[in-house]
């Protein structure tokens, strides 16, 4: 009990340090959803349970939408009036840090209790600890109640093996963030700031850098969160599974931000698709046509929700809409594929990567006009002089990512036999092992004190100090 309180205190202190509003939000959401989930579990009548769930959804989604809605409407008014909106303070304020992740965690839990998939939490302290669990508070992974609450109930367990394993994973995340993501940011940032200055191939290099930056930044944060949690004896779910190796857009979303994708699938896509199927039946379409229409509508709606969840901006809406359409187009292609030759896997992978990279443009730029300008420069349609610049760090960072993917392929046992044999020999030499967990997946971890192991860890840590860019950027996903 003491340990639980200490964890809650640490988590709340972390929230307050990040953003005082986040602390208030945690206390409010924890109290309202703790009470509502308890009442849902004890209510006998289905109508009462549904109303309680509705209340929770309205409160949580209302909180989530309040800031983006205020911001989008302010932008719209500004554009219509062509003058800046006078109220620049609260209306244009961003969401408190970690708020969107917190609300998804809490809302998912209440829905699970409503569906009977989870029991209500026994104590407020534990529920608040679950919502504010500090390693994952800022940017996930979005743990489910039935994953994290039982672990918190067992209590945190500080063990030497957990410390060593957790630290190994943390250092990998730190290296991804500081050595790769922040370095790639030095390439992507200037190109996105003024794409018209560069020839198309440099703009493409900037886009490539951003694609890998956002991956390494977010995956690095996740690794650090998983590592810190592992030190405390808690397992967080895996959030990335080499997403840029996906062979189609559906697979990409099963590999990218896995916990958000799963949340959206369970709590948005499936209910919408279920409700939609009943409506489609009334239209008198063939079964195949009805399925496609329903899937398309549910995919686009789900991805629009995903876009809006990322922030208040039409760019996010465009990004979500594009992914929704791509998922629908893939479904159509899959259906048509029964009658013709399949696309080679490598070509599917390339097309998926190109689409995902292009879709990052509205996600990264400040406005749709900027996104349009970026695409124009990418196609060489920009006006004015351009200046050649080949960012030499890009191939180095991409090479490092490729090596990391090889290591992950080996660790997850998916690689070819030759890779497995070479990886086994190298891991044995370095004193590394694969920490395989049912929910968290495979991570490389130091298990023995060996000379090569100490060499490797010292080299990585000192390299971060010596070679990371001096300006450490904030985590990209901390802004959502």
């Amino acid at each position: 009990m003491k340990a639980e309180r200490a964890l809650l205190f640490a988590s709340l202190a972390f929230c307050a340090w990040l953003d005082t509003r986040a602390l208030l939000l945690v206390l409010f959401v924890a109290t309202s959803d703790f009470l509502i989930s308890g009442r849902i579990a004890s209510a006998a009548r289905a109508q009462v349970r549904a109303r309680l769930l509705g209340a929770s959804v309205i409160i949580d989604v209302g909180l989530l939408l309040a800031w983006p809605a205020a911001r989008l409407s302010t932008d719209l008014v500004e554009r219509l009036r062509d003058t800046p909106f006078p109220a620049t303070g609260p209306l244009k304020a961003v969401l408190p840090a970690g708020a969107s992740f917190l609300i998804l965690r809490s809302l998912g839990f209440v829905i699970d209790v409503y569906r009977g998939n989870a029991a209500p939490c026994a104590t407020w302290t534990r529920y608040a600890s679950f919502l504010s669990f500090f390693p994952a508070f800022l940017a996930g992974p979005i743990s489910r109640g039935n994953q994290l609450l039982p672990q918190l109930e067992r209590g945190i367990a500080l063990k030497w093996s957990g410390f060593v394993e957790g630290t190994s994973i943390f250092v990998q995340g730190l290296a991804k963030k500081m050595l790769i993501a922040d370095r790639l940011a030095t390439i992507a940032d200037p190109v996105f700031a003024a794409p018209a200055l560069y020839p198309p191939w440099t703009v493409a290099a900037g886009l490539l850098a951003y694609s890998f930056q956002i991956y390494c930044d977010f995956a690095g944060y996740t690794d650090m969160a998983v590592g810190v949690a592992r030190v405390l004896g808690v397992e967080l779910p895996r959030n990335f599974e080499m997403p840029y190796l996906a062979k189609d857009i559906g697979e990409f979303w099963r590999r990218w931000h896995i916990t958000l994708s799963a949340w959206l699938r369970d709590y948005v896509f499936l209910p919408v698709a279920y409700a939609g199927s009943r409506q489609v039946d009334k239209l008198g379409l063939s079964r195949r046509q009805g399925e496609l229409l329903n899937y398309t509508a549910a995919s686009v709606l789900t991805m629009l929700v995903a876009g809006a969840w990322h922030g208040a901006g039409w760019g996010f809406v465009l990004w979500g809409g594009a992914h929704g359409c791509a998922l629908a187009a893939h479904k159509v292609w899959q259906g048509a594929g029964r009658h013709r030759r399949r696309m080679p896997a490598w070509l599917g992978g390339v097309l998926t990567f190109v689409f995902v990279s292009l879709s990052w443009v509205p996600f990264r730029t400040a406005s749709l006009a900027d996104a349009g300008g970026f695409y124009a420069s990418l196609l060489g349609l920009g006006a004015g002089r351009t200046y050649a610049w080949f960012p030499s760090w890009l191939p180095i960072c991409v090479g490092a990512i490729a090596l990391g993917h090889l290591a992950t392929l080996w660790a997850s046992g998916h690689g070819p036999d030759a890779l497995k044999a070479a990886g086994d020999r190298l891991a044995s030499l370095l004193g590394l092992s694969v920490a395989q967990r049912p929910s968290a997946g495979a991570y490389l971890a130091v298990t023995r004190a060996t000379v090569p192991g100490a060499y490797f860890v010292t080299l990585v840590l000192l390299s971060i100090f010596l070679f990371a860019p001096s300006k450490v950027g904030p985590f990209v996903y901390a802004a959502f």
């Binding site: 030095t186 002089r385 200046y387 004190a449 192991g453 100490a454 010292t458 080299l459 010596l466 001096s470």
Partner: protein, 336 residues
């Protein structure tokens, strides 16, 4: 237990050795102390720096950077003073503007020897206060002083380094000299260690860089920031007087990719003041139009960003063309 500890120690030592080798290739700096100028690169040392750009810089005595390919010093000696843009650790000896200019002058029939005394962090007030020391160390008959527009504005009034001061509104300008810190035992030991280990030197450099990034501007309080024309002119006059009028100002212009030919307000002020005082001026902007036409910016490197940081090889070539033109004109007029 002992076996584990020895494995950790040995592994860590091997990692340090690896990074020492990497540092010798990536950033190795060896210095000696000059009683007036402070820390300068040791004579005979080849300083490698790949943090920004990729430079290999050979140094002769008194921290003078000069390409070994130029051979012995012959002809008219010209001291080239400036900050990190003249020190130019981002480019190699053959690309730095002093080497390019020397070659151009010699091939134009004007035997000259340009002695690069650029050092990061120097201010215009330093060139005034230490004129005698620069002359002594180079035995130069002429000086080239490289500046930017901001060097006669806020940069010249930073109290953390040698700076200008105006005791009262009507008083003439004064130079407040900030001498190098005393060479105590701890400093001597640290310098010795740093000269032995490139890794230690690189780590210290990184430490300073990270501390600077955490607290930008903390050590650079500006006493006064006048950029008024008469103040700029007074600073230029003091500079010219310090070298008995025997100097050329090399003004490195900022680069606006959209309009490479446009002066900044500060640059226009310096040009006007130099013209009125009859000071020889070489202006790198005169070459920017041609660079822009080739799709090249004078600043930035593949391992940094376009149009940021220091002069790249194209920027040095542009500066060298402007400087060569100015020095040849002086030569033709018989002033040099």
């Amino acid at each position: 237990m002992a076996r584990r500890v020895s494995a950790l120690v040995l592994g860590s030592l091997l990692a340090l050795l690896t990074l020492e080798a990497v540092s010798r290739w990536y950033f190795n700096y060896q210095s000696v102390r000059d009683p007036v100028l402070g820390s300068v690169v040791a004579a005979g040392h080849t300083f490698r720096s790949r943090i920004e750009g990729s430079g290999i810089a050979y140094h002769e005595d008194h921290g003078i950077r000069r390409s070994p390919a130029l051979g012995p010093r012959r002809g008219l000696r010209i001291a080239c003073l400036g900050d990190s843009f003249t020190e130019a650790n981002q480019v190699s000896d053959d690309e730095v503007y002093t080497t390019v200019t020397e070659r151009a002058l010699v091939s134009s029939g004007m035997p000259a020897c340009l002695l690069n005394m650029g050092r990061s962090g120097l201010s215009v007030a330093d060139y005034v206060a230490n004129a005698e020391a620069f002359r002594e160390r180079t035995a130069a008959a002429w000086a080239v002083v490289q500046i930017h527009d901001r060097d006669l504005g806020p940069e010249a009034w930073q109290t953390s380094k040698t700076h200008f001061r105006r005791p009262c509104a009507t008083c003439p300008l004064e130079v407040v000299r900030i001498p190098p810190p005393p060479d105590g035992r701890a400093r001597r030991v640290l310098r010795w260690l740093r000269n032995q280990s490139a890794l230690l030197g690189f780590a210290m450099e990184r430490g300073q860089e990270l501390a600077g990034a955490r607290a930008p501007g903390a050590a650079s309080a500006v006493a006064e920031t006048p950029a008024a024309y008469h103040i700029v002119k007074a600073q230029l006059r003091m500079l010219a007087d310090a070298y008995n009028g025997r100097l050329t100002i090399l003004l490195i212009g900022r680069f606006d990719p959209a309009d490479p030919g446009r002066d900044t307000a500060g640059e226009a002020t310096i040009r006007r003041a130099a013209c009125e005082l009859g000071i020889s001026l070489a202006y790198s902007r005169d070459e920017y139009g041609a660079l822009a036409d080739r799709g090249t910016a004078p600043f930035g490197f593949p391992n940094s960003s376009l149009n940021s940081g220091h002069l790249n090889a194209s920027g040095h070539a542009a500066a060298a063309r402007a400087l060569t033109r100015a020095l040849l004109a002086l030569h033709a007029e018989g002033r040099l």
